[in-house]
């Protein structure tokens, strides 16, 4: 009786108290977002306003100068187009290759699947510095330095982290579905393409989002491999706000805000799949 009462009591919290739960959530997101808020507010501040002691949050005079200067300083649209191209192609490569390999690891019953899994894990553990120079020398030997190839081709060959993530998801797909298709005489690839891929869509979309964000913010690879400034990406473009002895904070923050927006939009759109997909038994 006491137990039933306590349950009932728990459900009868006064209305005003039920809303309290949102407070810690707001607090959490505020903590993560405040550096971004500062970035945003700096983008609208005048030069003299940016550094003050004690620091101020809101601009004293709002100005759009920084955005104008950012557009002036770097060929924003061209860089944006380049970055979109590279990110888009990388995403394409990812959604083509990663599910393929993940399928080999999750649903094809062959003796190589165990060793392959270990190899995938091994490659994740490798410090990138180990391969940085030899990989560069390979591309150099192929004459591909100064082109987009070194930035796009690797995505078509699979990324260990994403392969692993999709693999975990695929594991949760009931084997019966696949068996049924096989018994019906469908080829392995037909099974993969028509049955498994649609079910795995949330995980693939998730992988695509991760890949997009990685390519979008990648700095080191475009820096090393791109020669012609016409090919530069946005992240390299940000560099031009760093003078030898000073940083043009206003325009830099403005450029940053513009840089972040597309990636943010993609994330908001894909978020539905992102979390929903990950949660459907994905990470066993």
């Amino acid at each position: 009786m006491a137990l039933a009462n306590s349950i009932v009591r728990r459900q009868r919290l006064p209305r005003w108290m039920r809303g309290w739960r949102i407070i810690p959530v707001i607090a959490l997101s505020l903590i993560f977002v405040f550096p971004f808020v500062i970035m945003l507010s700096t983008a609208f501040k005048e030069v003299g306003d940016i550094f003050s002691s004690p620091p101020t949050l809101l601009p004293t005079n709002w100005t759009l100068n920084n955005f104008a200067e950012a557009f002036d300083q770097i060929p924003f649209v061209r860089y944006l187009a380049n970055t979109l191209f590279i990110s888009g192609m990388s995403v394409l490569g990812t959604i083509v290759s990663c599910p393929l390999v993940a399928y080999a690891l999750a649903k094809v019953r062959w003796r190589g699947s165990r060793p392959l899994l270990i190899i995938v894990l091994l490659t994740m553990m490798l410090p990138p510095q180990v391969t940085l120079i030899p990989v560069f020398l390979i591309w150099n030997g192929l004459g591909a330095v100064g082109t987009y190839l070194p930035l796009i081709v690797p995505a078509f060959l699979g990324t260990p982290f994403l392969i692993f993530m999709i693999r975990q998801f695929l594991l949760s797909i009931p084997d019966e579905l696949i068996e049924a298709a096989r018994i019906d005489g469908a080829s392995e690839f037909r099974t993969y393409f028509s049955i498994v891929l649609p079910i795995a869509r949330p995980a693939i979309v998730t992988a695509a989002i991760f890949q997009f964000v990685w390519s979008w913010t990648d700095f080191l690879n475009p820096l090393i491999y791109l020669g012609d400034p016409d090919q530069y990406t946005l992240s390299i473009g940000l560099y031009s706000f760093f003078g030898e002895n000073d940083v043009a904070w206003g325009p830099l923050m403005a450029a940053c805000v513009m840089f972040t927006l597309p990636a943010l939009i993609i994330f908001l759109i894909g978020q539905r799949f992102f979390i929903g997909g990950l949660s459907a038994g994905a990470l066993k």
Partner: protein
Amino acid sequence: MHVPPRTRRRYGVAVGAIAGAVALVLAGCSAPASSGPEEITFSYLWGGAEAEAIEAIIADFNASQDEIVVSGISSPDFQKQLTSLSASKGSFDISDHFGNAVGSWASKGILEPLDDYLDENGVDPAEFAPAAIEQLSYDDKIYSLPIAVHTFQLLYNKTLLAEAGVEVPSTMDELAAAIKATTKVGADGTITQLGLGDPSPSTTITTLGYAFGGDWDKDGAPSPTDSGNEKALQWYVDNVVTPVGADKLAQFKSGVGEYMSPQDPFYTGKYAFVIDGEWRALNIPTTAPELDWGVTSIPYVSSALADTTQLTVSTLFIPANSQHKEAAAKFLSYLVSDDGATAFSLALGNLPAKLSLVGSSAYDDIPEFSVWLNALAGDNVHALSSAPYSAEYSTDLGLAFDDVITGASTPEEALQKVQDNSSNYATD
């Protein structure tokens, strides 16, 4: 045989990639030179406002003749420069770097020796500051030309000096007294004003080392424990660190504004003296126009060592893997001609490297610039060696100075440690 679509797709990708690569290689070995002007690429480390100024100079050069067209790229990252130098075909034909790397790069064969090109284009090395040319030579060949040089002098805040009732110092002892008078400490020991600030401890201390008669390189090897160096470091500890305490000093420096911004500690009256380079003369009128400041030679310990200064050099070089060396050399000669060098140095706010420009009226508008400029012609101008070990050596020196300033080590121990470690340095 039925080839499944996936295999076909994969073949497609593979063929596409190979075709792409082949196309690129072929494009690289392009058709024989067309009859238009030769195009060369000038990749420079400068960015922001300096980059704009350089582009203007490039435009001038392009307009002045029709054989060569220079296109400039602002590429502020060193790693990028290195990767290009290691490629079989360089992505640029002329670039800039700092003098102290010349020995290291020259010994690895990635720089093109310039002596012949200089002869062809009528450029005489003797026109440049001797210390600069020495740093840029390796194995008796010249591998770079100085495009902008920097000397270091003692800047002071006139208002703060007047407040403390101090005259502009000319000897080290006077400077020590002046520092004491202009360092202000609150009741709890927190510093509110520091006599001698250090925008770059390494530069400050190495310059002081020369001023005390020391030398950081002797006979092609590092000489950190030279007695002049030790005296300088000890002097610094005694006059700047110990009186206020290493902890308080670190605390004070953690809250200073960004270098050369309106919140720069020298501009906001937090430092009374700094030892710094000539670019300040151009920065102050625009960034801190109300500052009442002056600059004087680095104080001397003895008259023989008067007007000591340290020289650092920004250089131009032609990579060994350039495909347009002749054209690059022509552009190089333009940049170091009197006109080119004046334009360049004015654009960057640095000193020209040519002795003939000392005293030139082109710099009259820049307040106090002559103090730095005239120092170029002095006898006591020193530059750190550019031998292949220079990168490791400067890192180790920086760490040693850091240890001493934070009170973790005595000057003698710290410098000895560097000496001991120097046996591990690369020799080529």
